[in-house]
């Protein structure tokens, strides 16, 4: 059968959808679906909100189209099916000395999802976004495959990269891989005492991969304390990663109560010695620290959780500090909080990155947290920043358009590529991105 009617949800498990899913395994099957019943494509549904949902409509699950179509070991040029997962690509090619050019914090994200969200990684300040390393995209349109390159189809390329799947299913893509010294990471961890020091260290970092874990519960003098991680690839022998564990049930609400989180964060922060340390990590553990625990989203219990992620321009660093203060004051944050310096690199009209600082914090799905996220969104607007649609589940139509200055160009190109609105998702409808 082509269609399976089922329930599914985004990573945050707040929104869910019901409807028929197809899961083609080969190009010919995808072509038939794209022609007869055009529908939006999805990957591994690692988007937190409703970008990967189409309630009451159809969706095309691309995860079984995941093969390497061509690889040139001399140049690192890779042609791959869009359902392939970034972590799988890493596994195949790291031993051969090549890495995916950009890796988000989960290795489960697919190439299609990485393009459609123009994802960023720990090397964004140097390497830019995922789409900047994509040299060609093949869309499966109702009339058949369409090859899109940045040079020949500039507008369609820019509408597809970061384009939330609205230009049609991405079947395959060509990427330029990055050379690596080996498949381990040499990581320097440093304790950071407070906010100003954190920003200074992030600004000064010359490492290829830089990321900050931030204690979003620390207040007062300790506001903005955290751990700075700087890393380079290296060669050496360390034991292979252990097999993943699974969260077998929904955790009770207690699991992430404010006291538990504060205690955990303090211990996590102290784990790194005063003077810092350098450790060798398995490449997976560095890039995808959470992937070892499958289904960790169930830790938040049945009602699910949100991630708030925004980026603000450098000049607005104080606004971001005020936002963090508000978060710390609320006592609602979970241990998962990340602070990073972004470079200017972005490849699509609707790409999230801008030069500045990005902050991402998880919250359990409670009324107080939803209110707080609403306030943080408003503060982001004032700061001249934007929120990340891969994470958002709550924003309204009014806030988002203004955050994305190239929205009009995107809208026009998408309208041309999909005049009948076949590829609309729940997110697109919630934010009214396809209505004039």
């Amino acid at each position: 059968m082509t269609w399976k009617t089922t329930d599914y949800c985004g990573w945050g498990r707040v929104h869910s959808a019901h409807g028929p899913l197809a899961r083609p395994e080969r190009a010919s099957a995808l072509a038939t679906i794209a022609e007869k019943t055009p529908a939006p494509a999805v990957g591994m549904r690692r988007s937190y909100g409703d970008a990967c949902l189409n309630d009451a409509g159809r969706m095309i699950d691309m995860t079984r189209m995941d093969r390497v179509l061509e690889f040139d070991p001399a140049t690192g040029a890779l042609h791959i099916e869009a359902g392939a997962q970034i972590g799988q690509i890493l596994k195949i090619f790291a031993p051969k000395g090549w890495l995916p050019p950009v890796m988000p914090g989960t290795g489960f994200a697919t190439v299609g999802g990485a393009i459609a969200m123009d994802v960023h990684g720990k090397n964004h300040h140097g390497a830019g976004s995922f789409g900047m390393h994509v040299t060609e995209i093949t869309l499966m349109m109702p009339k058949g495959p369409k090859v899109v390159t940045p040079a020949k189809n500039s507008a369609l390329f820019k509408a597809t990269v970061g384009g939330l799947g609205q230009t049609g299913p991405i079947m395959s893509a060509r990427l330029q891989m990055l050379r690596a010294k080996g498949d381990v990471m040499i990581v320097t961890e440093r304790r950071v005492e407070a906010w100003n020091e954190f920003l200074a260290l992030l600004d000064a970092s010359e490492a290829t991969y830089t990321v900050g874990w931030i204690d979003a519960t620390a207040r007062g003098d300790q506001l903005g304390r955290g751990i700075l991680e700087e890393a380079e690839t290296g060669a050496g022998l360390i034991p292979p990663a252990k097999r993943g564990k699974r969260i077998p049930f929904d955790a009770p609400d207690m699991a992430l109560s404010p006291t538990v989180v504060r205690t955990f964060n303090a211990a996590y922060w102290r784990r790194v010695p005063d003077k810092g340390r350098t450790v060798v990590k398995h490449i997976d553990n560095f890039f995808f620290p959470l992937d070892k625990i499958h289904d960790w989203n169930r830790l938040y219990g049945k009602s699910g959780f949100h991630q708030f992620q925004c980026v603000v321009p450098i000049e607005a660093a104080d606004d971001l500090r005020a936002m963090l203060e508000r978060i710390a004051g609320s006592g609602l944050a979970s241990p998962l909080a990340v602070l990073k310096r972004m470079g200017p690199g972005r490849a699509g009209y609707m790409s999230f990155p801008m030069e500045g600082y990005t902050l991402a914090v998880d919250f359990p799905n409670r009324a107080a947290a939803r209110r707080l996220i609403g306030e943080l969104e408003a503060a982001t607007v004032v700061a001249g920043g934007r929120i990340y649609l891969a994470k958002d589940a709550l924003a309204g139509p009014d806030t988002v358009r203004g955050m994305y200055p190239e929205f009009a160009a995107w809208s026009k190109t998408v309208q041309k590529a999909d005049p009948d609105g076949h590829y609309m998702t729940d997110l697109v409808r919630r934010l009214k991105l396809r209505t004039a």
Partner: protein
């Protein structure tokens, strides 16, 4: 010495997983099936993963005339030759009840087609004195059930054939393994309801490769199906005929 797997029904979901794993461990793959374009994609994938040989060849279980070209290509490959049969088709019982002419094709895809091929290639493997034959049957072949008994009968025929082939080829150094998967999350079962203990194809493929290396004779995969089918096989026919399982 290097091993090359001739994979019949290489476009099958489970076969694709198997070809990957075999390539990861450094084996070659000769992919045989009907959809050449799709197999070419799998071949590139296998080559990128390290398969020293990754080729595509036409195979249709219903066209025995297509077999000799495969035998010819296989004979030219050095090293250990092994064969893994994933071909199969499962029209619904209702469809076959309504149109009994579908039965012959089902039996050919699941049993006689592969049996003809294996009978033709057996002397080549025996002459080399090594290698493995993996035949994918099904738990559905262990007992005839109201909802699926023509497919089941074809698989049962294939099981019995493989048992005889094991008996024959074992003495020449070629191992034969019968695989009986339970329900697997593949293109064949997508959208079907009631799939107990549904397993991922990667898991089945890994079990098959491990079983082949360990020279298992009959492999239930996932293992839970061994006790389940043991019980189901033991139910007396006078009771079984009234059940709806």
């Amino acid at each position: 010495m290097s091993q090359t797997w001739i994979i019949l029904g290489a476009t099958s979901t489970i076969a694709r997983s198997f070809a990957r794993l075999a390539s990861d461990s450094g084996d070659g793959v000769l992919l045989a099936g009907r959809d050449i374009a799709d197999m070419q994609a799998t071949a590139s994938d296998c080559a990128a993963r390290g398969a020293p040989l990754a080729e595509v060849i036409a195979f249709d279980a219903r066209d025995a005339a297509s077999f000799s070209a495969i035998l010819k290509r296989a004979s030219d490959i050095d090293g250990t030759l092994s064969v893994a049969v994933f071909v199969g088709s499962m029209p619904t019982q209702d469809a076959m009840d309504a149109d009994p002419s579908l039965i012959a094709g089902t039996v050919t895809d699941n049993f006689t087609g592969p049996a003809i091929f294996l009978t033709m290639i057996a002397p080549i493997l025996e002459a080399r004195g090594n290698g493995t034959v993996v035949g994918v049957g099904s738990v559905a072949g262990d007992r005839g059930r109201i909802g699926n008994y023509i497919y089941g009968a074809a698989k049962a025929g294939f099981h019995t054939y493989l048992s005889g082939l094991r008996n024959r080829m074992g003495r020449k150094g070629v191992h034969v393994m019968t695989v009986k998967p339970g329900t697997v999350d593949t293109a064949m079962t997508w959208g079907m309801e009631k799939l107990p203990f549904l397993a991922q194809p990667e898991k089945i493929a890994a079990d098959i490769l491990r079983g082949a290396n360990g020279q298992k004779n009959i492999l239930y995969t996932p293992l839970i199906w061994w006790p389940v089918m043991t019980v189901i096989r033991l139910i007396p026919e006078r009771i079984f005929k009234k059940l709806q399982v």
